[in-house]
Every structure is written in C-alpha cells, then in structure tokens.
C-alpha cells in the first residue's frame, strides 16, 4: 500500500511539475528540445526509484539532479552548427529588461558554454537559486558558483558579441 501511495505522490508530482522542470531542462540543454525531454525523463525515472528516500522538497532534489545530469551529459548534446550564430543578436546593457536580450541568441550562447557553467547560470538566473543553494545542488563550493557565474556571464557576452561582429 505504501508503494502505491508513493507512486501516486510521484505521479502527481510529475503531472504538476513537469512543464516547469522541462523548461529548466530545455535551458540546461542549450535549447535542444529533444535532449531536454530525454534528460528530464531519465532524471524523473531515477527520482521515481529513489522517491521514498528523498528528504526535503522533491522539486529541489529533482532540479539539482537535472543540473548535475546535464553537466555530465555532453554526449547527447546536439551542437548547433556555427552558421546558426550568424543570426545571433548582440547583447546590450540597460534599457527595459524584457526587450534587451535576444532570447534565441541567449539559447545559442548557453549551448556553447561548458555544461557545468551553463548549469550554474540556469540555476542562478532561471531557477532563482541563491549562490549557496546552487552550490549545494551542484555539489561544489560557493566560490566556484561565484566564479562560474561571473565567467559564464562574461563568456556569454563575448560569445554573443563575437558572432555579431
């Protein structure tokens, strides 16, 4: 009976949270929709196996698992052809936030980052985790999150400017 109840809890969790989790996975995969679905499904299947042993909010656990899995899943990453960058916009500073960054260019820049650096940026800026929460999710030091964030932002800017020249 307990297993059944756990199954139902898990199923409810998947139904309610999959959309949000898939969007995180989509960014973690640099905008590769198919890879994101694969990643999320794989992670959720593993979460199912461990469901009853998860302490604390399962969504936090799942997001951390997603980030870690994406950082180690370079094999399935579909690398965008360089030509796609020709259409990338340039980043800018200032102005209305919702009009400043070309989201397609952001996806392309994300796709070019090392997976762990990309995971740090997604957790920090999409999932709104603090530096400490991000560090805990990825199993690294807060200083590493700080430096990865800083360098990731700088790298994204460089990538987007570079392709626009």
């Amino acid at each position: 009976m307990a297993v059944h109840a756990a199954d139902q809890d898990f199923e409810e969790f998947v139904v309610l949270r999959s959309q949000s989790l898939l969007r995180t996975a989509y960014l973690l995969c640099g905008g590769d929709r198919a890879a994101a679905e694969d990643l999320l499904q794989e992670v959720l299947e593993k979460v199912f196996v461990r469901w009853r042993r998860i302490k604390g909010p399962p969504e936090r656990y799942t997001r951390a698992a997603l980030a870690n899995a994406s950082a180690n899943r370079w094999r399935r990453r579909s690398r965008k052809p360089e030509a796609a960058w020709e259409q990338a916009g340039t980043p800018s500073v200032g102005g209305h936030e919702d009009a400043v960054v070309d989201q397609d260019a952001v996806l392309r820049a994300l796709a070019e980052l090392p997976p762990r650096m990309r995971a740090v940026l997604v957790l920090r800026y999409f999932d709104d985790l603090s530096e400490a929460q991000t560090a805990a999710a990825l199993g690294c030091a807060t200083g590493t999150v700080k430096s990865q964030t800083s360098r990731g932002l700088a790298r994204m800017r460089e990538l987007m400017v570079e392709v626009a020249r």
């Binding site: 199954d7 199923e11 998947v14 139904v15 999959s18 959309q19 898939l22 969007r23 995180t24 989509y26 960014l27 905008g31 929709r33 679905e37 499904q41 959720l44 299947e45 593993k46 979460v47 199912f48 196996v49 180690n72 370079w74 690398r79 916009g89 340039t90 980043p91 800018s92 500073v93 200032g94 102005g95 209305h96 936030e97 919702d98 009009a99 400043v100 960054v101 070309d102 989201q103 397609d104 952001v106 070019e112 090392p114 650096m117 997604v122 800026y125 999409f126 590493t144 430096s147 990865q148 800083s150 360098r151 932002l153 700088a154 994204m156 800017r157 460089e158 990538l159 400017v161 020249r165």
Partner: protein
C-alpha cells in the same frame, strides 16, 4: 528579475511536455526499479572491471589511418628530443592525466593512437614537454595538446595545461606555467607571437600596451614575464605585426590558463577571480533622466563600444552592472551611464553619448563607483553637459555654491548643471569634485 533570467523565461515559455510523458516516466521508472533490484551482481562485476581498467593504460590503441595533424608525424623538437626516457615519462604523465572525467569535461569520446611528444626541452621553469594526441571530440577528429612540466609545489612532473578543442576558443595552444606562473609557452601558430607584460591607461582611460616579438624556436615561443610584474596582466597574441590597440580580435589572442589553477581545478574556468564590489543596491535598475521617452536606442552594445574605444584591456573579464541611467541631458543629448568591472580593477563608471540619429558619438570612462557614498554615481560629462548623479535614496537635489539654495528635485538619478558643487540625497550632502 534580472535581464538574463527574463530572457531565459521568454526563450522557454513555449516549451511544454508531450502527451503521454507522465506515463512514459512511470513505465521507465518501474523498469529501472526492477533492474535495480536484480542488478547487484552485475554492479559488483562492473566495479571490478573499472578497477582493472583504471590500473592499466587508459589510452586505447588505435589502428587507423595516419593522423590528420601533420605535426604528429614530425620529429620531436627541443634539446631533450633525443632522450627517450624523458619522452616516455612525459607521454606517461599525459596518459595518466586523461582520466574519464578529464575526457568527459572536454567532450572526448575516444583517443587515437599513442601520445606524441611534439617538443621537450629545458626551460627556465624546468624541463617541459608539449604532448599531442588525436582524439574524437564531439564527433570531430581534433588534436589534443597538453603541457607536461614540473609542479613547483612538489617538483613532480604533471599535466600543467591542456587544450579543449571542442569548446569555443579552447583550441588555443598556449600555456602558462613555472614558479609564479610566470612562464608562457605557445606552440608555433605559424605567425609571429607577441607578448606584453602589463597595461597602462592614459588620461582618457585608454588602455595602452607595448608588445615585443617572442622568437619561435624549435616549434614553440617561450617567454617569461619580467620580475616585478603580475603575470595575470600579461597577454600574448599572434599575427603579422604587433597590435596597435587593445581591441584585438579573438582569433589573434592567445589566452592562457595558469598552471597553478589548472592543477587545482583541472580546468581553467574556475580559477579564482577578483570579487570586485559593484553598486548593486539600487532599487531601480533602469533609472531614467530627462524628458519621458528621451534617451538612447533600446539596444546598445556597450561592450563593443568600450572595446572599440580602447577602454577595456585585451583578454580582460568584464562584468556589467544591472543598473543603468538612461535618458537625455537638458540640451537633448541622449546618454547611457552604467558600471563595469574589469577584474582586478575597481568597478568604474562608463558613459555613452549619442548623436541625434541615435548612433553612439562618444564613449567615456568615468571614475570608480563610490559604493560607500549616499550618491555612488557622480560622473561629470564633457563639454558642459553636466553631472550624472544616481543614488538609492529617493530625493536628489543640487546647489551651485556651498551656501546657496538647493535646487531641483529628482528621483534616484538626474543630470544636474555643470556648475553644481554639491548634491543632496535624502538630506545627506556630497561634494562634487571635478
């Protein structure tokens, strides 16, 4: 909400799960659960297998065509090229360093043939060797290049740096090693190599560097930063002729990763950086000045403007503030003011003035941001355009003499007259020092 987060949300807002996803997950989860319950013996066998594999040579022999990179067919260069024991030792260090996680991090799915020592020589930083090996990196055959040398911490021969040709810019064959990370090595890029130890800024904030050509001997350029200079400020570039500005295309730049950081972290991206404080307490990232609707175009590529103006150093890591002051001066000149950090320098202000047609006219480097002040942003514009001031305090006023009446009433940011001598923010007075 931050700019990047907003862009990420917009980029992903149309993404939704496919029909049947939940069922697929449940079926997959149950399959995994069943496998897990019966997989103990298989797991034990696999662990034994990993131990056995790890104890041996990691690099698989590869029986294939000749390497694509012709350098791998040349004779080893350097004064230690005829010492087979040293070459074998360097190759052994390389092989041991190519662990599974090392390969994962770089997208290496297989390595081809045996490692090849391209160069081995005695340097001022001790014996060193450049090792190369072809590999499949994200579905392409690429040459991995690493520098093997002495770790000053324990005098052991180790891999001190490596390329990561699957990453943008990761194929640069340039390294930094030795005591204090002062020695730089570049594998012959087939064009001259130039080095610059440090940069200076002229009165306008323009970065200046002097460059010296580094001779290429035996297939590598070796250069040691002068005593008394910080090697993190050194830069190397390639190309026909020394650079005349610091706005140097990426393809000419030869970035290096200090061996001390590489040895500590196994890669370059997470080496320590100067955590320079920025003014980030403003409640309004976008602070308008001047008439409503005035101001520069929505998209302004400040990074490129700063680079083109020579206001940022080549190879510097740049971070921008989330806040900006946007709008126009009383005479209608559009302006954009913000803050940026070029590690390890203090955070500084920049200003962009625009022509009437919206194109950038002038780019200026301002003073350091006075983070502790009630009015952290105080930047005097040229040609009598006035002062740009900004604060996280609600009401700003100014006066043109220290005993005069306070004038104006602005919220968070303002362009005040050029002859203003003091600004007041919620009752706290700050002098304007030209």
């Amino acid at each position: 909400m931050n700019e990047l987060g907003t862009a990420m949300r917009r980029a992903s807002e149309d993404v939704d799960v496919r029909a049947g996803f939940t069922g697929d997950v449940l079926r997959g989860g149950r399959r995994r659960q069943a496998r897990r319950r019966t997989g103990l013996a298989i797991t034990i066998a696999a662990v034994v297998g990993v131990v056995g594999f790890g104890a041996g040579v990691l690099v698989q022999a590869w029986q294939g065509p000749k390497p694509q990179d012709q350098r791998l067919l040349e004779a080893t260069k350097g004064d230690l090229a005829d010492d087979p024991a040293r070459l074998a030792a360097a190759a052994g260090v390389w092989q041991r360093a190519l662990t599974m996680s090392w390969r994962y991090d770089r997208g290496v799915t297989e390595v081809h043939g045996q490692p090849y020592v391209y160069w081995a020589a005695t340097t001022t930083a001790g014996e060193a060797a450049v090792v190369m090996q072809e590999a499949r990196v994200r579905d392409q055959v690429r040459t991995l290049v690493g520098l093997v040398g002495r770790d000053p911490a324990d005098d052991e021969q180790k891999l001190l740096g490596s390329t990561s040709p699957g990453d943008l810019g990761g194929d640069k064959e340039s390294f930094q090693f030795g005591p204090g990370d002062r020695t730089f090595l570049v594998v012959d890029p087939m064009t001259p190599v130039y080095a610059s130890a440090s940069s200076t800024r002229d009165a306008d904030g323009v970065v200046r560097r002097t460059w010296q050509e580094v001779p290429i001997v035996d297939g590598v350029a070796l250069w040691t930063a002068p005593e008394g200079t910080d090697p993190s400020t050194a830069r190397l570039v390639s190309g026909d002729g020394p650079p005349t500005t610091t706005n140097i295309p990426r393809e000419r730049q030869l970035p290096t990763c200090p061996a001390s950081g590489y040895l500590r972290y196994g890669q370059c991206d997470i080496t320590a950086y100067a955590d320079t404080k920025m003014w980030d307490s403003t409640p309004r990232p976008d602070m308008p000045v001047g008439p409503a609707g005035s101001g520069p175009p929505e998209k302004t590529d400040v990074y490129s403007l700063l680079r083109a103006a020579g206001l940022v150093d080549v190879g510097a890591t740049i971070r921008f503030s989330e806040w900006t002051v946007r709008g126009s001066t009383p005479d209608g000149t559009s302006l954009l003011v913000g803050e940026f950090v070029e590690d390890p320098r203090p955070s500084a202000l920049y200003a962009v003035l625009f022509r009437a047609n919206g194109t950038p006219d002038r780019v200026l480097l301002g003073p350091a941001v006075d983070v502790q002040s009630p009015v952290p942003v105080r930047l005097r514009l040229p040609d009598g355009h006035g002062w740009v001031v900004a604060s996280d305090r609600t009401v700003l006023r100014y006066r043109t003499s220290t005993t005069g009446d306070w004038q104006g009433s602005y919220t968070y940011a303002a362009v005040i007259p050029d002859d203003a001598v003091q600004v007041e923010a919620d009752g706290q007075v700050v002098d304007l020092v030209p």
